[in-house]
Amino acid sequence: MEVAGFRIPEEVVGIREDIRSMRVRGAGRIARYGATALALAAERFPGGTLEEFVKYIEVVADFVRSARPTAVSLPNAVSYVVSRLKRGRPQTVEEAREMVVRAAREFVAYSENAVKTIAQLGARRIERGDTLMTHCHSTASVAVIVEAHRQGKVARVFVKETRPAFQGLITARELAREGVEVVLIPDSAVRHYMKRIDKVVVGADAVAANGAVVNKIGTSLVALAAKEARARVYVASETYKFSPYTIIGELVPIEMRDPTEVVEREWLAENPGVEVLNPVFDVTPPEYIDAIITELGVVPPQAAALILIEEYGVTPVSPELHSSYLDPG
């Protein structure tokens, strides 16, 4: 396949297709696949000048990113690699190739270890005898709770069932399997039980540049009830879930899903006048979040922009866009 005058290697086309068709799922796996695609592309570079190499990598980067336009981890993985190439100021094609391959490997190892690091850092925030609450299912937040439990700190975890798809049951099972005392509650009981909660630990689907957390519907109500009851709220999230688009003002789209997730088909047929509104995510404002536990450290949500700029090379506003405002003629 040829894109912008460059031949894209077969393996890279295959990886893009796997991501696009959702054969590869999960924020972490998509990200690792994306980084690997760039390493493969670098190794298969047919030859040319350094300038051509950089251009080629940028073309491949755009090609891979376009597999899932709304995913957050994929463009971050790609940017992670590309920004290290640009920052590295290579002198030869060989050096440049080396940089891309190294950055991609670094990212893969990094993301594989991210959850383990988050578990360690997060568990430090949990104190002996704490009663916790969690919502939905998140690998990172389960890892934090399990690690804290192994350290003998967790008294009990209230797990919200998380309608409509009941992902809370996955969390409940994973925690119970590790021996954690679990109380499964309906979502409506969040404020009733919040008085007993010391800390809330949830995951994230995306973190916006201002530190707002996009997560499963209901998260913002948990955070609000926690704020009211002065329970702490921690979001466990790998940094590649920080959304690069939001820094240029894009809103994170909130997907509406099928009504049959909420009510049975027969009920819908009997009640044609009722619209079932089924938003998947909601947005928790940064002021309700005490900290985001990332593999890079426990950071205030407001530091999200710092991570996007420093780790993923996201420029707040591109120089071209900036100058177009300065010089509208």
Partner: protein, 336 residues
């Protein structure tokens, strides 16, 4: 012909079971059904030792301990009975109790109609309201607003456990209200679009706190955050008089929660259910008065903290402790 005592008692127990299992939607409906059935049992069992008035009344209260309607409606009935028994010209125990039941019913139905009428005046054309659980009073007030030609649309929460929000949504759209059903978790997501929250009540405490279906307090909190008005629509017969003496309103625990989750999903957690994993939920929660803009009663739209002032006309002031118990103490011996 009077029904036999045994038959009347069996039927009374059945009504209590239905109330306990929430087969009668709405706490007022449940209370009125219980009262009618109690009166039939008393008529059919005069002088019969199988029918102990005190036991009959308390088993009704215990069928739904959070419900103040049941406690208060039975109290109002017994209070009327006591007055009748005390009247010198009464000539003893009345043969029939229908007229007393009707007086209480008339008051209760009238109170609810008036409260829903007053609350409907708060609805403005084009309003988007949010409601929770199933409430006949809220249903009435929105229907009234519709009858007046106002355009109203409503968000209804599913209201787990029990999911009676689905029934509410079904009834609402049939009465001409544009209705959207959401999961309980979506409340904060939609609240910015909402103009007013209307809910019913299971009990109102002396300090103005409202006990209602679990989830109500989180809705009120989200509404407060978004500066959306919260209105509780309730007859004064839901006032929890015992709370004046420091008693807490009993909050019932839900049972049979496994049945509310698809069986294939319960299977995922089944191995841990008898061990370190439990399913729990209260049926009700407490919304503090500061999250409530007004309680709309048959005597007017008032601050939640002022409910005690209006309720004194119904239950007397200064009050003596344990009114239900006291009236039973007086009536039970006379009834024999």
């Amino acid at each position: 012909m009077e029904p036999g005592c045994a038959e009347a008692l069996t039927s009374y127990r059945r009504v209590l079971d239905e109330a306990r299992e929430f087969k009668i939607p709405g706490s007022t409906e449940a209370a009125v059904e219980i009262l009618r059935s109690l009166a039939r049992a008393l008529e059919g069992c005069r002088g019969d030792p199988r029918a102990d008035l005190r036991e009959l009344v308390y088993s009704a209260v215990d069928s739904r301990p959070t419900s103040q309607s049941i406690r208060n409606i039975l109290y109002l009935f017994l209070d009327k009975l006591r007055r009748e028994l005390r009247t010198p010209e009464a000539g003893g125990v009345p043969e029939r109790l229908e007229h007393l039941v009707r007086e209480v019913e008339d008051y209760v139905v009238g109170a609810r109609e008036t409260a829903s009428e007053l609350a409907s005046r708060r609805v403005e054309d084009g309003d988007v309201v949010l409601t929770h659980s199933y409430s006949t009073t809220v249903l009435r007030l929105l229907s009234r607003a519709r009858e007046r030609g106002l355009r109203v649309s409503a968000y209804v929460t599913e209201s787990r456990p029990g999911s009676e929000g689905k029934l509410m949504a079904s009834h609402l759209w049939r009465s001409g209200v544009k209705t959207k059903l959401i999961v309980d978790s979506a409340v904060r997501y939609v609240i910015k679009d909402v103009d007013k929250v209307f809910v019913g009540a299971e009990a109102i405490a002396a300090n103005g706190a409202v006990v209602n279906k679990v989830g109500t307090s989180a809705i009120a909190l989200a509404a407060k955050e978004a500066r959306v008005g919260v209105y509780v629509v309730s007859g004064l017969y839901k006032f929890g008089a015992e709370t004046l003496f420091g008693d807490l309103v009993t909050i019932e625990e839900a049972s049979g929660l496994e049945a509310e989750i698809p069986p294939e999903r319960v299977a995922e957690i089944a191995p841990y259910l008898s061990r370190n994993l439990r399913l729990r939920s209260p049926l009700y929660d407490v919304t503090p008065p500061e999250y409530i803009d007004a309680i709309v009663t048959e005597r007017g739209l008032i601050a939640p903290q002022a409910t005690v002032y209006l309720a004194r006309e119904l239950f007397g002031w200064p009050r003596s402790r344990e009114t239900l118990e006291r009236v039973l103490t007086e009536v039970a011996p006379l009834w024999r």
